[in-house]
Symmetry: C2
Subunit: 420 residues, 2 copies
Amino acid sequence: MSLTLEKTNVEAQAMQAKKASKKLSLLTTEEKNQALNVLADTLEEKYQDILTANEKDLVRGKEKGFDEAFMDRLSLSKQRIEDFANGLREVAKLEDPTDQTVSSWTLDNGLDVAKVTVPLGVIGMIYEARPNVTVDATGLALKSGNSIILKGGSNAITTNKVIVDVIHSALEKTKIPSEAVQFINTTDRAATQQLFTMKDHVDVLIPRGGGALINAVVNNATVPVLETGVGNCHIYIDKEADTEKALNILINAKTDRPAVCNAAETVIVHKKWLNENKDAFVKALKDHSVAIHGDENIQKIISETILANEEDWANEYLSLDIAVKLVEDLDEAIDHIEKYGTKHSEAIITEDKEVAEVFMKLVDAAALYHNASTRFTDGGALGFGAEIGISTQKLHARGPMGLPALTTVKFMMIGNGQTR
Amino acid sequence: MSLTLEKTNVEAQAMQAKKASKKLSLLTTEEKNQALNVLADTLEEKYQDILTANEKDLVRGKEKGFDEAFMDRLSLSKQRIEDFANGLREVAKLEDPTDQTVSSWTLDNGLDVAKVTVPLGVIGMIYEARPNVTVDATGLALKSGNSIILKGGSNAITTNKVIVDVIHSALEKTKIPSEAVQFINTTDRAATQQLFTMKDHVDVLIPRGGGALINAVVNNATVPVLETGVGNCHIYIDKEADTEKALNILINAKTDRPAVCNAAETVIVHKKWLNENKDAFVKALKDHSVAIHGDENIQKIISETILANEEDWANEYLSLDIAVKLVEDLDEAIDHIEKYGTKHSEAIITEDKEVAEVFMKLVDAAALYHNASTRFTDGGALGFGAEIGISTQKLHARGPMGLPALTTVKFMMIGNGQTR
């Protein structure tokens, strides 16, 4: 019974979103920007409503015994809400990615051809208990002329519901139809499953969160998916690596924010370099409280090594742990990354430019680094402005996805009776 | 037993293709172009081997009683093989889509960032009994630095096998490893099914053929798919349409090549225009032997109408038949296209520019036409050169897909020790 009811609701919401996306596609850049600014102001005005709702999610989270990192992501404050509002104001300032002529030409018969960017239509956003995604994703979707259907983690549902209520009340004062933002207000998994296959009404799904969430979407969806960000990132220290650069980059990539997707999880070390730099290498990791995991080869060289198994190579630690892999040459390093990498961010540290070029050509990933930290794979750090996620797939968009990733193109042909 | 054997074979082929793609990605444009020219010459030299194999497929096709159109697509001649070779020489002349810097900039900390096009890797091409696709797709894949796995229709398997043998013998004389072109030499469907899920070795699947083939791939693949070309295309004749333009375009779009995807399948006619132009409209269609299908409203106006059902609106005829839909206004026309269109090519015929603009903005399709025939949706006709198919999806590539659709990007960052 309840399943049938949910079914009707989610489908009705998706149809409303589709209808609203048509209206949205006819708005001017100014009308969209103005709406984002109204939205920002309204979030700040109603911050107390949001904090009250957030308190309920926090109490429930505490009862469930979630860890500190989880509670930290869930927890809002007046300052964080002001940050959300300022984020929306920044998005308002970014260039409108739609209605841009990518290329245009005229055929010999006089037919004018233009390839023009247009919104995707309806975006289904599936994410974990991070209320900031509710605001950020809405801002990016609306700016790019898309409707959005929000399905956030159930542990933030009270907070998200109130945020979306605030968004709806704000949109009433703007040209953007409030139906352009839909919130799936249930913890029933069946509702999410419906989103996965609603090809007629939803143009793309964007999962954002851990590997389990992303795989659930990729494996069950018939709606196209923009796969985001599991990052099992490697730092390869070549035999010609500069010691100081290598250690600085390694420590930064591992310890700056261990829980994010662009943090390093394995360091691949050339045998020759490790022989020459073993003590400094071990000291740097120890000084930063990083636990070393490795196979028997590494155990022979570094006594404090925890024995690694297949899991250590294949998965993200997202903690102050690192897997150390010893290699004889570049090919062995590339093969290891090919086998275990997630096509996110991979770095080589070397003073040999030719070796770096081969590494960057042959390693298949969204972002390749020569003598720099993998931590730069981020829309903000690379200077794009806000991102909707980091794509680790090859089609449509790769790496940090800003506003252009939320558009597609149309070929627009204007003639005066041309036939073939 | 045989299934296990096949499984091993296809996976081994895909792994060879992946390995070859790495070598291919390091070749220069000149090395690739030279290889394509050698390939072209070798096809012409060995045309007799190909024709002998083709004769076997033709005899079997005749026994199976395939229709004329099918036999025509399957049938080769010395001239057609020369056309294939010239097609390859044209691809050699096109700009290399890889290693192009889409954008580049330097961060304040001195880190150089470049977004550069790179090959996708391994393309799985699944198509019907059209030997031209074997050559065309191979040329486009190799030029863009990709390996290709070919799975053609079983009724052309003898021809395709010999074409691929010729390709392999030609590649032996070039820098391109012959493992870059793999041919699935079986009619066992299980082999194709394996391709669908080989995410580790195959980067994209491109189905090219009828709706059944395309749906089989889209519904069963976990490898990303570039969906191509079912075209249920509409011509909307607005109340402000010029009679001569409308009829010329309608007849061209319907009758020039009725079996192709950019042919018109339904004409949507504004009531006012039909009232004023009924006789000329019916005469034009009759003169070109086009059968009229329509609902009761159309039957009342045009006596020779065959009663249409849901199938008539939803499917391609690919023959000299057209469905006629009567509407009261633009919105009704747009709603009909939204409901039955396949997002391929849609045209409006009107002298009212504002109405045309609204139509082109609101109708969701790869190609929109104002006062021109839908027949122009084609890489050759639009001036791109060869195409690998026409995308009717929104992500990655939309409309005719030329060489750039076979690439992705990498972010390449070069630093001197930058950390975050």
